[in-house]
Symmetry: C2
Subunit: 205 residues, 2 copies
């Protein structure tokens, strides 16, 4: 492959990514993608044959990124509290880099969850790994009588709920609290601490 087509194929992917994230699958047209990429609309089909193909390619990649963004810094050798803090921070940082991703994933999974049947296995494995790790730490704290009875899945589900929602509800927040993009970032940072406190306080007696 020549230098140029490498560029163009990449530019198409980049343009598609930006548009899909902003407007979703249906509301993004191949013509629009081509315009943003700086090429003819037919070229989008030349490289990816169908719009669905192009989308799936991106979707799988992004979906895995999202799943893996819920992870534990293996270096982190603290106990349960430190782990929680670690997970929340890493996840929110990822979301700050990919603010439009959660709503796209949720919308598209809702539209057609068959699409990602083959990704689910990986997702399950990853989820199990996180949950196992958390439950090991939970068991330790529980033996010491420090925390209430809680299971790892609920804990991680709480974290994801709290983290993701402030990104998908951004337009509501901007309006209800009369924020601008700057004060929104301040809000996110304040929420980071609030979420950590809520999760930790929610289990420690």
């Amino acid at each position: 492959m020549s230098e140029k087509n490498q560029n163009m194929e990449r530019q198409i992917i980049n343009a598609a990514e930006e548009l899909f994230l902003k407007k979703g699958f249906t509301r993004t047209s191949t013509t629009e993608i081509a315009q943003k990429a700086g090429c003819n609309q037919a070229l989008v089909h030349y490289y990816f044959r169908t719009k669905e193909n192009l989308f799936n390619k991106l979707f799988e990649e992004k979906f895995m990124q999202f799943i893996e963004s819920i992870s534990i810094d293996e270096e982190c050798k603290g106990g349960l509290k430190e782990r929680i803090e670690n997970i929340v921070k890493i996840h929110i940082d990822f979301l700050c880099q990919n603010p439009g991703l959660p709503l796209l994933l949720l919308s598209e999974v809702n539209r057609n969850s068959d699409r990602i049947g083959h990704i689910f296995e990986k997702m399950k494995l990853h989820a199990m790994h996180i949950v196992d790790m958390l439950e090991t730490e939970i068991a330790k704290e529980r033996e010491k009588g420090l925390i209430r009875n809680v299971n790892g899945f609920d804990m991680i589900f709480n974290i994801i709920s709290l983290n993701v929602f402030m990104f998908i509800a951004k337009p509501l927040l901007l309006n209800i609290r009369e924020m601008n993009d700057e004060s929104y970032i301040t809000f996110i940072n304040a929420r980071k601490d609030e979420i950590i406190k809520t999760i930790i306080g929610g289990i420690y007696l």
Copy 2:
């Protein structure tokens, strides 16, 4: 207006509601709405002139319903804990009745938040009312030294995040936990307690 057209107009609204909730604005066609309502496609336009009109009519109604679903049973004369429990339960019950609503609202607000500019004022008022009430109760508990420093908005935002997410992430839950519709309901009910514990534990010292 005759008996019959009243029926048909209502049937169109009902069909539209069902389809918009399931597939969103763009992926629902007026032809499809007409089919489900049992009439000709032109009739949809006869009653509502444009698809956008029809959608907005539904959207505003549903949006207000959602906002008002976050409410306090005025009968509830307990303290902060009872209020929280009350809010969570009422809200989740509403979501069980309207499981597809949150994702539709979030998607459409994201697509075009101007659409609902005029609803925001009502939303703000309602939000303020809830937050004020919570902060009164928070102040009481705080004077007694029972809870940490927390503001009412964060509290209600935490509740909404935790409640809504388990509905918008349903397809993921079904797959990752290998649930069916029945076990999903069991999960929701278990979550209800978990969420209450998390919120209350998250602020009480």
